[in-house]
Structure formats: structure tokens, C-alpha cells
């Protein structure tokens, strides 16, 4: 005689349980899959774009046009934001340092924070808003008006023609823009500290030169190059893959700015962590 259970599950109860378990598993896995997919599609586009750098033909004119748009075109806004960021940083630093009667450290405080954090991050956010949105809108408009298809009909690789110059120009121009931000920001801090707060000029400069090193600027420039890569890949991906009409181009532009800004801030955290391990701060 078999030893089977005398009480059997009502029909369908096991299937319902399985279905609920599958739904719960799916709900748990879906976000992870979404993140992996997001990273994957961007990585594929980046790979194709980088391949375009080494493949012929090399169209120097396109690189220069993008460098002009991303770099030179962004100079006014970078200078404006840089000047006031430096001045505001000095204002806050002096207010805090005054508690300990140590206002002389304002040059060092502003110099360090600009070099490693404020300049690359603010610069990246400004360029995301100005150039990133421009890239997404331009590529999106080209997609919906079939200009990208037209490139393909002439046997031109649209990734190599449109995306590669934008990514390369962003990587190259971001460190330069960051250095400009640093210089203008220091000017703002200097003018505020010396002329409005009457901090001693000698102490401002002495503390600044003692506490800041070339490595602080190297860290800032390296971060800026990485931000240039992440913001341009996000913008190009969103613009290049638009489907639909004007509304979708608008959504892609919004998405490009959001994705670009988030990618900058998230990568900033990991980069600064990495640099602190590799290159400890002077004590």
C-alpha cells in the first residue's frame, strides 16, 4: 500500500502559489535587469563609438566642430557659474573659519574644494544642461527627420559620424573647461575675500599654495574627463534612439539631462573614493 498523503491540495492552489512566487521573483529581479540593460546598451554604444575613433575615415572637422560647441560655446556659462561659485565658497568658508578665527585658510579651503569637487562637478552639470541637452535634441531631430537613415544610405556609419566626435570632444574639453572654472572660481574667491572681507592677501596666497598640489588638479581633470564620457554617452544614447515625433525628442532631451546629471553625481562618489585610496590627502 502506498504511503501517499491522505490530504491533497485543492486543485489549482499549487499553481496559484507558483504564479505568486513567480510574480514576486519577477518584481524583485526586474529593477536589477533594468539597470543591467541600461548599463549594457550604453556600454555597447560606447564600444561602437570608440571603435569609430580607430576606423577610417578620420573626420577631423567633425571633432573640431564638437569641441567648439561643447567647449568654446560653453565658456560664457562656465565663467559666470565659476566666478560666483568661487565667491560663494569663499563667503561660506570665511563664515565657518571665523568661528575659530582662522579666516586665513580661506584660500586653501576654496582652492582645494574647487580643484577636486566644485569645478569638475559644476562644470559637468553645466555642460550636461547646455551641451548634453543640445546633443540629445540634435540627434533626436535627425532621427525623426530620417537624416540618420540618409547617412546610412550613403554607406556612412552614423555612430562613427555623429556619436564618436561628440564623445571624444566631451572627454577632451571637460578637463579644459574644469581648469577654466578653477581659475575663474579662484578669481571670484580672491576678489570677495580680499576686497569685501579684507583677508590678508599674503596669507590667502600662502595657504592656497601650501595646501593645494598639482595632484589635486590632476584628480579634478581626470574626474572631468570621466564625467565628459558619462554625460555624452547618456545624451547621445537618448537622442540617437528616439522613436516618434517632437514630443519624444523633448522627452529624450529631458531624459538625457537627468541621466547625465545622475551619472555625473554617482560616478563622482566612486571616483573620489578611489582617488582617496590611491592618493591620500595631505595631512
Amino acid at each position: 500500500m502506498s504511503a501517499s498523503s491522505s490530504v491533497e491540495d485543492p486543485p489549482g492552489q499549487a499553481e496559484a502559489g507558483n504564479a505568486i512566487a513567480a510574480a514576486l521573483l519577477e518584481a524583485a529581479v526586474a529593477p536589477v535587469r533594468g539597470v543591467l540593460r541600461y548599463v549594457g546598451v550604453h556600454a555597447i554604444m560606447l564600444g561602437q563609438a570608440l571603435l569609430g575613433v580607430v576606423r577610417k575615415p578620420f573626420r577631423l572637422r567633425l571633432y573640431l566642430e564638437q569641441a567648439q560647441f561643447i567647449g568654446v560655446g560653453s565658456l560664457p556659462i562656465i565663467c559666470l557659474v565659476g566666478f560666483f561659485s568661487g565667491a560663494v565658497s569663499a563667503q561660506q568658508a570665511i563664515a565657518a573659519l571665523r568661528i575659530f578665527n582662522q579666516e586665513r585658510f580661506v584660500g586653501a579651503t576654496v582652492g582645494l574644494s574647487l580643484a577636486q569637487e566644485l569645478a569638475p562637478v559644476f562644470c559637468a552639470l553645466m555642460i550636461t544642461a547646455r551641451a548634453g541637452s543640445g546633443m540629445a535634441t540634435e540627434l533626436g531631430s535627425m532621427r525623426i527627420t530620417e537624416q540618420i537613415d540618409a547617412l546610412t544610405t550613403f554607406a556612412v556609419d552614423p555612430i562613427q559620424y555623429l556619436v564618436t566626435p561628440r564623445i571624444v570632444a566631451s572627454i577632451l574639453m571637460m578637463p579644459i573647461m574644469t581648469m577654466v572654472f578653477n581659475i575663474v572660481g579662484l578669481c571670484g574667491a580672491y576678489l570677495y575675500s580680499i576686497y569685501l572681507e579684507h583677508i590678508d592677501l599674503g596669507q590667502f596666497i600662502e595657504q592656497f599654495t601650501y595646501w593645494t598640489d598639482p595632484k589635486d588638479y590632476i584628480i579634478g581633470a581626470t574626474k572631468a574627463a570621466v564625467f565628459g564620457l558619462t554625460l555624452s554617452v547618456a545624451a547621445c544614447y537618448e537622442g540617437f534612439n528616439v522613436r516618434g515625433g517632437a514630443k519624444e525628442v523633448g522627452l529624450a532631451t529631458t531624459q538625457a539631462v537627468v541621466a547625465g546629471s545622475v551619472s555625473v553625481l554617482v560616478s563622482d562618489y566612486f571616483l573620489i573614493d578611489m582617488f582617496h585610496i590611491l592618493w591620500p590627502t595631505k595631512s
Binding site: A150, T153, A155, D157
Partner: protein
Amino acid sequence: MTPTPVPPDPTPAERPPAAPSGTENLARRDERWQIRVRNLHKTFGPQHVLRGIDLDIERGRTNIIIGGSGQGKSVLMKHLMGLLKPDEGEIWVDGEDVVPFDERQMGKLRRKFGMVFQYAALFDSMNVVENIAFPLIERYKLSRDEIMERVRELLQRLDLANVAGIEQKFPPELSGGQRKRVGLARALIDRPEILLYDEPTTGLDPVATKNVDDMIRRTADDFGVTSVVISHDMASTFRIGDRIAMLAGGKIIVSGTAAEVLASRRPELREFIETSGLVPREEKA
């Protein structure tokens, strides 16, 4: 008692264009047919857009593909040029099945083709000369003088040379008809064998439509190219078409000369022709 209606014999236009692939030799250059499509299927998500297209495109003639909106005409055209890959089926161009082609082979094949897009797809960042010269600049190392000579010759032949300052104008400064002609000049500059037109008269007034029709006809005659025109403008179709095919329900339901197509009794085609006002609507018994 009502007799069961007997379906009429298919007219020449309603017969399938050819025997199924496998029983005919498509792998040789055919003097009459330049492009031969067999059993082409394409699905986008849940939508089965092309459901076994069989179509022959005649060399040196103006071939029109008509059909309602959303029937897959543009999808079919993009397959002809390799912008889309089919899920199943064959596309033979001059005796070569191009479906298995990789991107490099496709790049070579595309030199045979020129495409005129629905709204011209001119590059906004370039002026008229740069737009027209684009294929030459990308493909060859020609001197500026050689390029300008060919651009100006085309501007002349397409009646654009007399437009003041046309060479330096940017696409937004051009009228709809001028944009189409600049788009055609760009497609023609590398002397393609096959010209594809995607709804060339959409959005144009009747006079501009007739001008574009004349331009297509003249281009076919002057340059001896094979033209494939996607259209749902019946007046244009019968004005310029040597061969006409109708796409409906993802299949070519009618294909033949203009006279053969007009003689067809297929209800989808009759509806299309009669609604356009080309022929009087038949009274139903």
C-alpha cells in the same frame, strides 16, 4: 434560389509575380528584372507587417508601390536598401541575394542605390551644395572644382540653378518642392542605378505634385535609372508609373502595367482607385 458566385479568373495583374523561390533561377543577372523579392516577412513586436512579399522590379522603368497608410510600404523600401533586415525571405539585386550581406558588403551595394526621402531628409547643418556633394565627399577624393562642376550640372538639370543664392541656402530656407529637388540631386550625384522615392508628393499642392512627377519621369528618362516609388497618390501613380504593385495586408495583391492594374477586380484596389476619383465609382447591384 441564388446561384453561388463564381470568382472571376485572375487578371494578369493579380497573378503572383513569379513562381516561388527554389523553382526559378534568381542567382543570375536578369535583363528585365533588377530587384526580385521573394517571401519577405518582417515583424515588429506583435505586428506582422510584411507577410510574404513577392515582387519584381523592372530595370530602367518607373515601378510604383501603392497601398494604404500603415501597410508597410516604407518598411518594404527600407528592406530593398538594406536599412532593415527581414525575418525571412530573399531580396535579389542583379542576381545576388543581399539578405545575408554584412555591413561592408551592404555599404558597397548601397552605392547602386539613391534614396529620396519623404521630407527630403536634408542635413540641417549643411547648405545646399554641401548636402548635394555629401556622397561624393564621403566616397571619393575629388577636387573642389570637380565636385562643384557635378553639383552645378545637377542644379541646372533639376531647374534649381535659377533660384537666387540657392547654393548657399540651408534646408529651412527652401520651399517643399525645392527641398525635394535638392534631395533628388543628392541621390543622383553618385549616378545610382536604382532610385528609391518614399512618398515624394506627400504634403505638396497639386502644381508642386505635378512638378515632382515630371521630375521623376524626366529623371528616369534622362538618367536611365530604375525608379521605385512608394505612393498613395493615385493620380501621380498612373501619370508616371510603368509598373504598379499594390501592397495590402502585408502582401502584394496586384502587380502589373497600369492597364493591367486598372483592369483588376480586387476589391481593395477598386476601393483605392474609385476613392481617388480617377474612375467613376461602380454601382453595386
